[in-house]
Amino acid sequence: MSGDTVADMPAETVSVTGWGRTAPSVARVVRPRSYEEAVEAVRGCGRRGGIARGLGRAYGDAAQNAGGAVLDMTGLDRIHVIDTTGASATGSPAGGAGSPARGAACGTVLCDAGVSLHRLMEVLLPLGWFVPVTPGTRYVTVGGAIGADIHGKNHHVSGSFSRHVLSLDLLTADGQVRTVERGTPLFDATAGGMGLTGVILSATVRLHPVETSLMTVDTERATDLDDLMARLTATDHRYRYSVAWIDLLARGASTGRSVLTRGDHAPLDALPARTRRAPLTFRPGQLPAAPLHMPDRLLGRATVGLFNELWYRKAPRSRTGELQKISTFFHPLDGVPHWNRIYGRSGFVQYQFVIGYGKEDALRRIVRRISGRGCPSFLAVLKRFGEGDPGWLSFPMPGWTLALDIPANLPGLGGFLDELDEEVAAADGRVYLAKDSRLRPELIASMYPRLGDFRALRAELDPRGVFVSDLSRRLNL
């Protein structure tokens, strides 16, 4: 099945979906294990093109390519240089032109695009360094983190992932490897570009120093949406990390009731004496995986309503300085491998949008509509974004972002989300491409005003349209 690709490069034709497990399509998945094989894979993509894929955590169809090639990048998993001297790494292992050093007074790591944030934590935490941005899962690759320009609980302080990328090596449609520096148009098209400018091979990423591998966490409850927004607005700046879990099934006076968890890396002196002896241990726990087959309608209004009620009540009204493991604070769902299976065969849809400050009324309307309709969502989170980054298709912008999950088999869901899109677009907001699996293509240009530049750059860089995904076909990116 490998066509004219390198003889022994692993390749198989399989059905591929995103993390939401909707809209499968079949592609030839090739797994390059070296930069040379990656070049070979791009050259051998064929008529229906190719797209890079990491650990498949994008919820929708961003890393699928029906009838074409999907480059599984997890075979490129080397960490090349960890530089903690302050003079940042400058190598260019993929053979692009060397990049001059940027004297950041902090640590950097130079690694392949297929390295996961989980792996980086395993390696870096014992050395006293942490990734600059982590989303709700550690199982994303560095390449995916740049391609989706991911954000985390520290966006209001640290921005999105690409803000911490000093340079990257990009394999473009012509089979060349280019070293792409921050501040160039190609960098801004690639950061958040959903893999459509080329295949990221490696990147130099700035790190964040930590004294311990524990978090000190403050928890408080908010009784409704306005209470939540008031609390976040008033005190978010005191915390490096901040997020609120929101009960979207609560109605009436408690619409939008939520649990805020905010914190920072614990300093050494905050640890009890026993833990202080090995402050940088990283041992995330793991539960058994979710079963392969789950009933389709397990997560209904009743079960999720009960879960939300208990989750809200179990949270303390106010608690400060609790010590939590990194995995507990950032990645609770990573504890259950394949947790996405709990939605059953029909899968689920993630919906995340951002609405700018000053448009709070639109946010209130949307939250009321969601809870009024009774969408059974137990993973809903609300967060305040800080300044956006220059990526042309980068999602974050200053404002409120709400993310929620909904079982895909909920009747009428498609039309309902279309109505929410209209609200979001009317408030000059946007939805997140890494989570999208259903946006109406007509809305994309107004949500991402730099889309025209993005298309123009792609037309020039990739005239034959080598890089293509189900997402790019669906939304005409």
């Binding site: 809209a23 029906a66 849809v349 498609g414």
Partner: protein
Amino acid sequence: MKDAFGTPQSLLVLGGTSEIALATARRLIARRTRTVWLAGRPSPALEAAAEQLRALGADVRTLAFDALEPTSHEEVLGKVFAEGDIDMVLLAFGILGDQARDEGDPVAAVRVAQTNYTGAVSAGLVCARALQAQGHGSLVVLSSVAGERARRSNFIYGSSKAGLDAFTQGLGDALHGTGVHVMVVRPGFVRSKMTAGLEEAPMATTPEAVATAIETGLRRHSEVVWVPGTLRLVMSALRHVPRAVFRRLPV
């Protein structure tokens, strides 16, 4: 591409004047469908159907297609797929014939079989290959409960649909794992111009109800859809009724 709910952006209708097909197209255009190909024998009715769908905001093109000329299918349909991905093919052509007359006119009877069965075999295979090359897409085939068990009153039509139904199921199995989704739709008596003047059967339905069932089937990746859904139970009972009894049933 189809979205998370299986709604297509581009649709190819084989049998572009079928009322069920047009009801389905209207429904899908209201959701996501922007490109529609209506294939059928050139006629004012085909153009009128296209005009009607254009008014809903879709980009609609008509295409000369004749089920009775299988040798032309490759070329005619190949052109459509060459212009871009087709997310869904709706195979909707078919004729009812006139059982009483056709029993005495074997040539007319064969025309029913050729349209409903062999024409669909050819068009179905051509579309299946193109969809497989795309790695995605749905092939939705309009069968009928009449094909579930041959009845005295319309076994010529019924046998052609039985063949079509069996062919489609086999094709679905052949395409399993290729990214192509094949769905058989088995409506009962549908009130439409095809059945105008006939005596209505129990549990009669409408083109709009069939369209709704197709949309739901796409979302669920169903392989078989009955319209109305209760027909599945009814037919599974009727299938086991002894011949001597079945023959006398007033259906």
